[in-house]
Symmetry: C2
Subunit: 401 residues, 2 copies
Amino acid sequence: MSNSVTEKQAKRPNYFDYRREIDRLTGIEVLDTFEKFSQRDDVFCRALWDEGVANKKVKDFYQGYYMPKAKARKADGFSQRDYALRNAAWHVCNLIREQKDGRKEGFHDHFTSHDDGAPEPYAFQSDHQATEDIRKVAAFAGADLIGICAYDERWMYDGIYDTRGKSKPLDIPGDLPNVIVTGESMDKDLTATVPSALAGSATGMGYTNDCVTLLTMAQYIRNLGYRAYATMNDSALAVPLAVQAGLGEGGRHSLLITPEFGARLRLGKIFTDMPLVHDKPKKFGVKEFCDICNRCAKGCPPKAISFEGPSDKIFNRSNLKGVVKWSTDAEKCFKFWVNQNTDCSICIRVCPYNRDYSVWYNRLWQKIAGGRFRKFALWLDDRLSQRKRMKSAEWWPKKNI
Amino acid sequence: MSNSVTEKQAKRPNYFDYRREIDRLTGIEVLDTFEKFSQRDDVFCRALWDEGVANKKVKDFYQGYYMPKAKARKADGFSQRDYALRNAAWHVCNLIREQKDGRKEGFHDHFTSHDDGAPEPYAFQSDHQATEDIRKVAAFAGADLIGICAYDERWMYDGIYDTRGKSKPLDIPGDLPNVIVTGESMDKDLTATVPSALAGSATGMGYTNDCVTLLTMAQYIRNLGYRAYATMNDSALAVPLAVQAGLGEGGRHSLLITPEFGARLRLGKIFTDMPLVHDKPKKFGVKEFCDICNRCAKGCPPKAISFEGPSDKIFNRSNLKGVVKWSTDAEKCFKFWVNQNTDCSICIRVCPYNRDYSVWYNRLWQKIAGGRFRKFALWLDDRLSQRKRMKSAEWWPKKNI
């Protein structure tokens, strides 16, 4: 296991005790075969260098995120109007994240710290006060969920990808003790239209809002006189950190499932030395429910999601090695995206946890799903939930303001 | 009046008929002495060139928007933590808007159109459908209010300000027939803490969110194949356009008062040739209520708001000439901002229309205020409303997520 932690981290007092305890609480089983993940093996990076993934169609797929190369077609949800919104939703995210010298902020590299902060750290009365404070700021900056956990070397990328075609070392310092994990919910109605280019608008706007939230929070922390590195999909694996930070549990589709939004959210992470109290991992029966449910596996057109139980089985180099969990076949998944010419989130739509929890009976359903009557909850979901695709043509005329 | 419109606009069929009709509906009285407003005379621009406004203190005031020059002090609402949040709230807005070659997007210049749109305009079934469509997208992109009016040359700036110290021509084409006006509400609790640096966080985050909304909407319109220029405080006077677009009425404090948020919002404008149906101006008794109310005038520490009725009286070169309305003394207002080392919005806080209209009795109050029992509404507000300053130290511990 020596390759899974830096010397620095291993020297920290009680790091291995911490690992044992946090793994017990999360239920994440890390084997001796564990290897840190190299971002180069992420399927989106492989699309740039691996001939097994990269091809002309992939290039067209990415170019389609800019008009006029969107290749709209007549099918519902794939018209010019749908692509117009999807691409516009990404627009501000694309503007904010710097992309030069092989960097792609928020996806490969952490966000640049643009403005200087305060020279002296603000003295909070207690770590508890600091924690309440950052929760307040997170909500103000647009986060829907927030959790805090300890820095854990295992989930940091073992090298990040330079868009010019090589791996480079991760440049987030290893001495930042805390990770703030944020969640931004995605529009429920839009997600209901998947598969559609229109549904990709929820993804794009999710990233845009995430950029705003993370950059604002990180600048706030620096303004207090602490260090803060804002990251989105870059730098570290989000799901295990989110689980450790008490945001939810990992599901069969390998996405985080939260009590508030199911899997309908995006994750951000801030690495910091602001003094903070860690949250406890939260179990609410997802593991046991996913064990008996296979909606996502059945609903996935390219069959990228496994019907089997959690294991350390891997499909290809894009999987994390040596962790017992549900894994998906990212190659099949991404190929489907490229073929339909937009990102897919059918597994999010069809997941029984995808509900509006502002309504009491959905909260009640979640309680049932989390207990020993989970089969009844699954049966109920089968009978009562309309989790079918909503036509994009129905989304557009719905009134808002 | 020849100096108030371009030749192009005057040549448009029925432009003068339109003006007569819209002024009748809005109640805005434009006199023969009317002159278009040159942005150079805006007090924020004068702070850059006019010795009567610019000085060392003004420079310090602006530098304070970046740590560590914030000059925090011990008073409630002005601590390092308060400035840390205020400055962080502005951070993404500062990143998004390009500032080079004398440009200051969103404040002096319109936002750059970064990505190409579609080459051919999308064919809507009707202008009505296009209008419903952009309303949907506005809500999706984060707008709280939207209204549409015709382009009106009178409210366009007669030259905009180049931060290098000179006036330059406005570069928004005069042949775009429609203006979309958006409103973004500001955090009610934060506004309640004014005067405070903390309250400035609502301003900063308002601008940040506004940038995201306007850039997303404008890119969407371009992606449909139409032209769109996204503007914030730049390019044109927002209040008369918002009134013409049916968002609300102008109040004694010279801000827009809306039925949904009172004056607690920020305005954006998009100039476009997307085919759209215009909204009708909306009167709900603000003019008559402000006639008998002077809360903002009494509440303004530097007495920048008039106790008198609407007139074409001007205080200094920062006022618009030749329009009968409530005007404020921008020099006194801005001087107060500089002296207290943050922006002020006491007039927004103390305005009786500053209420939470999700609550039925506040909607009822607004109905009364808009009718002949308005004096009773004012009396009620006096007796029942706690519109006092909330301590910043009380805002921080309030739970959100």
